[in-house]
Symmetry: C2
Subunit: 358 residues, 2 copies
């Protein structure tokens, strides 16, 4: 079956986009005040329905090109060496609603990013115990949430090349912020791939299969590619691009979300991150077109988590535009405007916040 | 300052509506499978920003027409007699997006309802200890979340007439589903008013004031009224109207959320509730225009919580429309189409789910 294509949208939003925005969840930007996003405020992008995963009967099937294929219970996974990592995840489609024409999907504005503490066991140890055969080049990870995307019925599945899958920080996790995984976060077991956009961290992980060729599943080969034109082979979405967000200062209007700020000394605060473990090197804040360095707060608790920053601003009465921009240690810097992508992936254009100071 | 009015919207959705849909959260309807909605799946409607409530320093001020005005710490409230109640809450604006022209606000489709177990102390005990004066007729409850709505700056605040405030089931709660309240649910202390639409259950409760006249605050006198035309005095939103929702059967299309169902025996499942403690008397399911009785599951664990129901359906290949409709013990029944309201409040029209059976 050949995949279907959804025609792009210009201007106001379709009911389907609103339905997705209502069932998925952004992190309200004031929650950037928390170094670890509290339970229930972490962003959520759920491709199909949230499955009903039963922890007591759950097993992870380890199959494919292995010497010792296995089926592990949750208790067996919990009995393996455990590790807790603080990880910032961002949806590859974050910022999509700022791109025009707009791809018909979850209309993230900029709130599809959060940080949690994930606990589990390194995938590498589990695969080493199962004995990868020499021909194995890729691992395919499958969840249990089933549905239709681009006309093709499938269970959500993604792959990693062997070297990526075997990295120390790639975990099979059963807990988030010290609690058992919640259904919407992939209970009872999920993959966490730090440094990557969120689509790699497969939820409700039921199967890991070692294979000898690239995986051709919908969510791997068709979706999650950067493409400038339909039909292009494209470039796969992998590591998160450098990004920064600020807490909108002052108080909001309920409907417009415009901001009213008191004149005087204001500390602007936010978080910045990049992908692939690359540290943030610099954050700048722009007030009415004038870019200045922000203060980077102490290094993040983990190389995979965002880093706090602040900027002391002397707010003068009137209308102002604030913006923030991060640069990472590899020299990548956020663009001032979205970089064109047909599906709205990887939009890390600087956040702009209009404020009225009184 | 006279309130401003937001002009109604027809057709596709405004960016402001999408921003609200992304920062607020609906309960994905598959979560109707849970009698108690898991943490992080409970719907959220946050008027302004989520405040940063510090449990250690938090106090509830009891003021106004009292013999013994007081300021209670969270520890003092926890030391009072405790009660846990299972309560279904629904946003008064649930279903707004189905009404045209549409009021510019959170564009709920039908997912603004959930159930939690709330733990705290009855408000009545606290007020009795403080000694209500004879002149007191209303209680005004204020949160700390501040912002602008209809051009008026205010902290979110609501009132109850004395008799309602003194009802046994009205609680000052500090825990939800056995955990300390999360920031987005009103940490560290909130009001819960069972049987009422959610706007009555003030979050981040900082002050309770006994007064001798109706409260004229924005969220009491201006918003949350049923009105057919602008400028009408209107009727206040109070108890939830009877309502029922089903879990959409089968599997979804990612974007369209259309449903694909296997032919054969299918058990349709859902929940039904009404307001003011009125029990649900009947649920019916409609398949292609033919209404039949559903099976009501054992009575809810609390008179304030929804009740499960199911309906066994022999699904035949083809296109079908499913619907469900509840009737409560007072004889109130859901309408087949939305009842007109300018702000889209109280829309309890029957849910309709289009499915393709294969």
């Amino acid at each position: 079956m050949s995949p279907t294509r959804r025609p792009p949208i210009v201007g106001r939003f379709q009911p389907e986009e609103v339905a997705l925005a209502t069932r998925n969840s952004g992190m309200p930007l004031e929650a950037l005040r928390y170094d670890v996003t509290p339970v229930g405020l972490h962003y959520l992008l759920i491709h199909f329905d949230i499955p009903e995963g039963d922890a007591a009967s759950w097993t992870l099937e380890l199959g494919g090109l292995l010497e010792r294929p296995a089926r592990l219970s949750l208790a067996q996974i919990r009995a393996l060496p455990q590790k807790t990592l603080r990880v910032t995840l961002e949806c590859a489609g974050n910022g999509r609603a700022q791109v025009s024409p707009r791809y018909p999907s979850m209309p993230w504005i900029e709130e599809g990013a959060s940080t949690a503490e994930w606990t589990g066991t390194p995938l590498a140890g589990v695969l080493e115990a199962a004995g990868l055969r020499a021909q194995a080049t890729h691992l395919v990870f499958s969840g249990t949430d089933r549905g239709i995307d681009r006309g093709i019925e499938h269970e959500y599945a993604r792959s990693l090349v062997l070297d990526e899958a075997m990295r120390d920080e790639v975990l099979l996790v059963h807990a988030m912020n010290g609690q058992p995984l919640l259904p919407q976060h992939g209970a009872p077991l999920r993959l966490i791939v730090p440094g990557w956009y969120g689509m790699a961290s497969v939820k409700g992980l039921a199967k890991s299969e070692a294979v000898d060729r690239p995986f051709e599943g919908v969510q791997q080969a068709l979706s999650y590619h950067f493409r400038r034109e339909p039909g292009e082979a494209g470039v796969p979405c992998t590591h998160m691009r450098v990004n920064a967000l600020m807490i909108p200062p002052g108080i909001p209007d309920f409907y417009k979300r415009s901001r009213l700020v008191e004149a005087g000394a204001q500390r602007l605060r936010g978080r910045a991150w990049s992908g692939g473990g690359t540290p943030v090197a610099k954050v700048e804040v722009c007030v009415n077109g004038d870019w200045r360095a922000a203060v980077l707060e102490p290094a993040a608790a983990s190389p995979w988590a965002w880093r706090g920053w602040h900027f002391d601003w002397q707010a003068e009465p009137g209308e102002h535009e604030l913006a923030c921009r991060a640069t990472d240690a590899a020299g990548a810097v956020q663009p001032l405007a979205p970089v064109w992508d047909i599906a709205g992936f990887g939009n890390n254009a600087v956040q702009r916040v209009a404020v009225t100071v009184r």
